[in-house]
């Protein structure tokens, strides 16, 4: 059991574990969104998928989404787990849990979170079809350069 609110994991996601992370005595509602692997997209049959992430940045972006949620809905609390690696049809790719004192905010903040994930979190999906494969990038219309300048505080050495 991990206590981190935001995770990129290469094993099946435990939905109940994500829900428990946002448990709060003042919560009157928890919404849980489960994103799953779809077989048919516009008539084309997916055999399976592969997800890849830039994990350290993805976690930072989840934290930014959480911050944005706090600004809009101060009483909401969010936890997000996204799977990477090989996924079969109907497997769970992402789980978002949001708790809040009342249900409306829990629904709204949860939808906000999945919309933002699709805009700013560096995760990629590769589709495997019967006749080929393709890395999907269906968000060319989005140019998400969020506010803020790049930090130069972290340095990594070359291998």
């Amino acid at each position: 059991m991990t206590t981190s609110l935001f995770e990129i994991i290469d094993k099946p996601i435990d939905v109940e574990e994500v829900r428990q992370k946002v448990t709060d005595r003042n919560a009157g509602a928890i919404t849980v969104f489960i994103g799953t692997v779809r077989e048919m997209t516009k008539g084309k049959k997916t055999l399976h998928l592969e997800y890849q992430a830039y994990p350290s940045m993805a976690i930072k972006m989840f934290e930014q989404i959480s911050k944005e949620i706090q600004e809009r809905w101060p009483e909401a609390k969010v936890a997000i787990s996204h799977r990477v690696g090989h996924l079969e049809i109907s497997d769970i790719a992402v789980v978002i849990a949001v708790s809040s004192p009342h249900r409306k905010i829990a629904y709204e903040a949860n939808e906000f979170a999945i919309d933002r994930i699709k805009q700013i979190v560096p995760i990629w999906k590769k589709e495997y079809w019967e006749d080929g494969t393709e890395w999907i990038g269906d968000q060319l219309e989005n140019v998400p350069y969020p506010k803020g300048n790049p930090s130069t505080s972290e340095e990594e050495s070359c291998d």
Partner: protein
Amino acid sequence: MINILLFAHLQELIGESKLCIDLSNLTVGQIKEWMETQYSQVNLQHVMTAVNEEFATDATVVKEGDTIAFIPPISGG
């Protein structure tokens, strides 16, 4: 030295997930041009970049020890 991280189709086109190159104090735009010269199979026009895990612009300067990641259009969720 700077680190260059590659993902998704860029990783497959270049055949590496990470490059370590002896360049620094160039802008993101200049590094993109350098990449396209080195790897003619690559087009970085619609690719976003992050420097040290924060989204950057073509004008961002990449310094010694920085990590620049090329972020193709994302498709998570």
